[in-house]
Subunit: 204 residues, 4 copies
């Protein structure tokens, strides 16, 4: 089987999960007489929206990168991809909970659920990639072993980072969320710095 | 007509139906003072989410498999595909009802509706495939008759399995849902065991 | 410009509009003690869901057919397509109103709004096609004039049919909805009868 | 990396954001005894729906145009695209607020948030294009410098226009919204007038 439809389906779920995030912001404002004040008060919803959207966007970009190395799909690969997308699609739920409860007693429960969701997402992301790349099972013939090893190396930090975020959130919810923002930010900086070098090696 | 757009549209509906499932989980938690406790209490919503997502994912993977054998589409094929997707798109509704009512008097009605929906989905799935494959109506010229017969054989158990689930749900709702989980699980095990062999025969 | 992305965007809007229809059914059932009874009572929601899904599916199949004749897109074509999709995306709203109000005083307002929406959709659908086909503006060089004329002929009945439905709905709402079901049904029968002949002429 | 998946993901987010707009109209009508009257009363929701759908549609058409000039994507390009889509996906929220509050005290807050959202969207849109086009970083080898310069020239008015709209909305909310409608309308007229000339130069 070719990988075209895997990408279409994955892009669909990723795009929808990201776009549904706005419904969480939207549901915070209902029947109000002080719109300006309330729009300022729900700032955690904007932060949560931006962080989750960026997280899903980063996952999409990374998925984009590794699918580029893959030649074909088998049923196990499809199944692992479905389980990975099952995690992605769950993200909007804890996102809303974090935004809604970060300033009350529910902060711990909300941020820990958020952390667990991202940890499982990162685990499944690695599972999909490792299934395809170990012993070059589904890779393209011309996939550069150095690039493949580089991808494996950079992705394996995902589950660890998010697990640390989850544990921190269990102790101090706000610190956990702040740390998560840092994880995303590190990718943004990484892109800005490494993109030129990368471009030099990957022509059209 | 080529089949490219059929796949795009089907992937769209499948991806959206799967991603909308999270809205059902989300709607279970509203204005609460005991977030952690409520997050644990709504566990049937997580199970229902996972089972329905996995079911749609399996249907997607199977659709992926059979579209691979099909060369072209005619209007009847498009119409049958639309009716099949009409069933897919219905799935989030009974999923929520099962999650919400599995512990109260509505369990029977909810699980039976869920079972009927999946039975009709499987019937339409078979209708699409049989329309395309009987007398090789829309198949690729090089479609292997053995593979075609194998697909026909494996799919025809779908309606039967789901009808049995529905009847069991009518008598004992929780047993019906458990059985449904088993049907999904059997596919997962099947994939893990048979994938290697399959890969050997289907090169790029 | 090529037409690939026009199809992706159109398929996206069509698939999402169709899949969102289930939210209308879902919202009819809230906090109930008599689930089985209520599930039977909301039958107009199922009919409305099926009719609107089928209508969007038929429009998708027809869009599929005419895009097959088109070589390229210009800005006016993109703009007309956006306006056509704006109508498509509106369909879930009157669908819910019809399902909810067909048995009360709001039946007339709901069905007339539904009829107007479908009439405008059909008008815009024809506008897109006529813009592309008149003087073969955006057609493929090898587009068969007979096929082109046939498409033009069959589509122009759309706005007229839906306008009649709207006027009938103004006088007798339930008759209007029944008529709409007939319009859809006629396409279904048409497909089943004419598909074989069509297949004979359109090879891969 | 090729640009195919960038377009799929972008089209997905654009299509979903546009299609979700109908939920805002839908939520205005709840449990009413005077459906016809209420359907007339919520006219600002229809205007807001049409203006936002058209705005997203125009952005889609423009994105379509510039992606046509781009050969490949690097990580920074993907990141900027994600940030651009983050703005797009936000649009349904202020759209609902404007529709709901244009006739009460919240008009200023709603329209200003709408204006800020569109301004940031236009800024990110330019950032994506400028990153790709400056020193022809990601352009196709045969990208015509005149066309590239033309795109740059026409897009840079976007942020300026929307900033003016925002400032006007701060002073006079309704005037701001009217101005926004004019910005969209100018594109519509522009398309109708310039499309023929453009078509002459861009063959298949």
């Amino acid at each position: 089987m070719s990988t075209g439809r895997v990408e279409t389906f994955a892009d669909g779920v990723l795009a929808i999960a990201a776009t549904l995030l706005i419904l969480n912001v939207d549901s915070q404002i209902r029947e109000t007489d002080h719109l300006a004040r309330e729009l300022l008060q729900i700032w955690p919803s904007y932060v949560a929206y931006a962080v989750s959207f960026l997280t899903i966007g980063i996952i999409w970009a990374n998925h984009h990168t590794f699918m580029h190395q893959i030649e074909r799909a088998d049923r196990t690969f499809l199944l692992l991809t479905v389980l990975f997308l099952l995690c992605i699609s769950f993200i909007p739920f804890p996102t809303r909970l974090v935004a809604e409860h970060i300033r009350d007693d529910g902060a711990r429960a909300a941020t820990v659920l958020y952390g667990i969701t991202l940890t499982l997402t990162a685990v499944m992301f690695n599972a999909v990639w490792l299934y395809a790349s170990v012993r070059r099972r589904l890779l393209k013939e011309d996939a550069d072993p150095k690039v493949v090893a580089g991808i494996t190396r950079s992705y394996r930090w995902g589950p660890v980072s998010y697990l640390v975020v989850t544990i921190v959130a269990l102790i101090h919810p706000i610190l956990g969320v702040a740390l998560l923002g840092l994880v995303d930010l590190s990718w943004v900086i990484d892109s800005a710095v490494f993109a030129p070098r990368e471009r030099a090696t990957s022509g059209p």
